[in-house]
């Protein structure tokens, strides 16, 4: 008597959202199954991998990173190199240098810098703010204008600034926005409802549900993603059907496992390999739980995670 598998195909779908223009356009979402459950139904668009650079440059303390970007003299050159990284589908620019506590670069200067970077690459672009809600609102408005027509995704619109981000980026310039909430399905849904009430089309919205490094409360991440995907697919909740975009790099490269030196922890081996491993393990877990895109930093992690995706889809 053969095994009788019961397929689990849902009558609901994750929304599709595309970023970028032309040949390199990346489309996220579109599937009607749980992550990588291609045995239930084909997966329309495989999950994507983004590579993150900071507007302050790259972390040259990591030999592998320094080697990859060797010879890049300016941010636009760095961005171009990043956008051509094997395995990378899009470029994410983190505007760290605009944070009030970290240089406080002006909105105008930052927008000009981003415009220069964008001109050097043809890959789709994700703009990660400086993580200060007030500054981000102003930055996104100017950058949305500067990158008009590039179909950029802005991460993120939060509860405190979703009105201005929605109005400026999504409505005035038809860019895409990511709704950011802190690892909680109810907060995520509430923010999506608020944004849609502003008149933003749900097809222009992605979700950044938050993340955590492996070992640092990842159970909340996994469970929130699980519940969001279940609600989206099994209950056809259209306020949770946006694709999930997860910045992983910013979580994993700050934890102890990735930064303490080999001199202090000789058994642990080189710090860079630990960081890469943390980035790969966390990204793989995010994808398995439901991310439609992950944002990573190290070229080796990008290579490994894109290979994993290719194997699983």
């Amino acid at each position: 008597m053969p095994f009788k598998p019961v397929q689990q195909k849902f009558n609901a779908k994750i929304n599709t959202l595309s970023i970028g223009t032309g040949e390199k356009t990346v489309t996220l979402g579109g599937e009607s199954v749980f992550p990588f459950y291609s045995f239930d139904a084909p997966i329309e668009n495989r999950p994507s991998v983004g590579v993150e650079i900071s507007d302050l440059g790259i972390d040259e303390a990591l030999p592998g990173v320094a080697e990859f970007y060797k010879g890049c003299a300016s941010l636009p050159e760095l961005a171009k190199r990043a956008s051509e990284m094997p395995g990378a589908d899009f470029l994410a620019i983190s505007l760290d240098g605009a944070h009030p506590d970290n240089g406080d670069r002006s909105v105008e200067d930052t927008a000009a810098l981003v415009k220069e970077i964008a001109a050097a690459v043809d890959a789709p672009i994700v703009i990660e703010g400086c993580r200060n809600v007030e500054k981000d609102s102003k930055l996104f408005e100017k950058i949305a204008e500067a990158l008009d027509g590039r179909n950029v995704l802005f991460l993120s619109a939060r509860e405190e600034n979703y009105k201005s981000v929605s109005a400026a980026a999504a409505m005035a310039y038809s860019q895409k926005i990511g709704a950011e909430s802190a690892v909680d399905i109810n907060l995520a849904k509430q923010l999506n409802v608020l944004i849609s009430q502003m008149g933003v089309k749900t097809e222009s919205v992605a979700m950044n549900l938050g993340s955590a490094a492996a070992g640092y409360g990842f159970e909340y991440v996994a469970t929130t993603f699980d519940r969001v995907k279940s609600a989206a697919l099994a209950q056809n909740d259209n306020m949770l059907q946006m694709p999930i975009v997860t910045p992983v790099a910013s979580e994993v490269w700050t934890v102890k496992e990735s930064i303490v030196s080999e001199a202090d922890f000789p058994d642990w081996g080189p710090a860079e390999e630990r960081g890469i491993s943390m980035e790969i393990a966390t990204a793989a877990a995010c994808l398995t739980a439901g991310s439609n895109a992950v944002i990573l930093r190290h070229p080796d992690s990008v290579a490994a995670v894109s290979k994993l995706i290719a194997e699983l889809v």
Partner: protein, 441 residues
């Protein structure tokens, strides 16, 4: 499908004799239906009723032990596909694969990874010994591996080698080699002394072999879901578990083993990625080529997270945690014993590079605001901690930094602890690095 209370009630003696400890047969039936009481608590059930009910009330996935006593490993027993539906119960275990050629090189590395994280020992639980074709060498290698004080997986489909190796492998053994052509022999060899790993060319073949083994009386089975490709293996792992838990197909109601040493030989990073995937999606035993700290740190951390019972928060032991080389003159910082808070806060404090004494008091495993609201974190609880742990005898500094979210406690703590200055930290952990770098006593 689980039986309803009424269906069970119909088969009880309906005498309300209370021998089962319940006031009525109906109450007993309801509890059995919920899985709260075992069927055999009722001494008066007819054999016929037992046979009829035993099958229907049995758990959807078998749970069993490999080994006995304190050292045993527990596998299986899952009842849900998603941890938020209840909880996962038996954490996945790790094995490192080795053979006669690699054992001497690999053992020292395997021994190295052995540490404690939140009271849980993190190490490689199993050694997977591969039979390369020479039975004598295989048995010698198993002997050597068995001396390591870990569980042993015998990877062989040769009955002779299996029988000989089993005799020297100790008492925590999985014989992983049964398949469609040798299962009768393997069922005999494994007997009661070893769990039996079963594989098949396809899920159909695996299914049939498991069904045949069950007929022979084999109980402790493990499904080797490793397929020809990564995609097939993931599909197998999910479908097997889903069939058992969602579709109630008990033939697949057994723990699984995934062999990454076979699937991604020579690609350490792919193995790390896959181990992470199978930790979330249904690998019970994950076999790796090696387990270095770089892999262990994220993977064991992830496992600990995923197998946390959602109803019971992870807690850290109360006590003094000196950071960045803190001594008795270093400033004291306090927060709650909720593991997530502890990790985030201690991580940021370590990043600041400033020597600090982190004081963790018993706050019931709640986050700062929840603990405060529940009365578990108060001026009284902090003062009590300082007294009980003799902080004033151990540390000379009299500055205590408290979480920004409980700034209201400042005055009251200063009242209870004479001589101490209480400083309020920022609300969010990410602001701690800047706060402490600029901090002056």
């Amino acid at each position: 499908m689980a039986l309803k209370g009424l269906d069970i009630f119909k088969l009880t003696p309906k005498t309300n004799c209370k021998d089962c400890g319940n006031p009525t047969c109906m109450a007993f039936a309801m509890k059995v239906a919920q899985g709260a009481v075992e069927l055999d608590k009722c001494p008066h059930l007819s054999d016929e009723a037992k046979a009829q009910l035993g099958d229907a009330t049995a758990p959807p996935m078998k749970k069993f032990e490999v080994g006995k006593g304190e050292d045993k490993f527990t596998l299986g027993g899952e009842t849900v596909l998603f941890r938020h539906d209840k909880t996962f119960v038996s954490k996945n275990l790790y094995a490192v694969s080795l053979c006669e050629d690699s054992i001497d090189k690999k053992l020292p590395d395997v021994r190295k990874v052995d540490y404690d994280r939140l009271g849980e020992r993190m190490y490689v639980e199993f050694l997977n010994v591969i039979d390369k074709g020479d039975a004598d060498k295989f048995v010698e290698t198993v002997k050597k591996a068995a001396a390591e004080g870990r569980g042993i997986i015998l990877e062989t489909s040769n009955a002779d080698a299996a029988a000989k190796a089993l005799a020297v492998a100790g008492d925590r053994v999985i014989l992983n080699g049964a398949n469609a052509s040798n299962y009768e022999e393997f069922a005999k060899i494994a007997g009661e002394s070893a769990a039996l790993g079963v594989s098949g060319q396809s899920l159909d073949e695996l299914y049939d072999t498991v069904a045949a083994l069950e007929k022979l009386g084999s109980k402790n089975l493990i499904l080797d879901v490793t397929g020809g490709t990564i995609k097939e293996t993931f599909s197998n792992a999910v479908q097997v578990r889903r069939a058992a838990l969602k579709d109630n197909d008990r033939t697949f109601g057994y723990p699984s083993v995934v062999n990454l040493h076979k699937l991604a030989a020579g690609d350490t990073r792919m193995q790390t990625a896959l181990a992470s995937v199978f930790t979330l999606k249904y690998g019970s035993i994950i076999i790796m080529s090696e387990m270095e700290y770089a892999q262990a740190l994220p993977l064991y951390g992830l496992r600990q997270n995923i197998y946390t019972d959602p109803q019971k928060p992870m807690k850290v032991e109360p006590g003094v945690y000196p950071l960045n080389g803190a001594d008795e003159n270093s400033v004291c910082v306090t927060t709650v014993d909720f593991a997530l808070t502890y990790f985030v806060v201690s991580g940021e404090l370590e990043r600041s590079g400033v020597p600090l004494n982190l004081l963790i008091s018993d706050a019931g495993g709640y986050s700062v605001l929840t603990a405060w609201a529940a009365g578990k974190l108060s001026a009284g609880s902090i003062a009590k901690f300082i007294k009980e742990f003799d902080i004033e005898g151990k540390i000379k500094s009299r500055t205590l930094v408290i979480p920004g979210k409980v700034a209201v406690l400042k005055g009251e703590i200063e009242e209870k602890l004479s001589g101490w200055t209480v400083v309020v930290a920022p609300n969010e952990a990410v602001e701690l690095v800047k706060f402490f770098r600029e901090f002056k006593v």
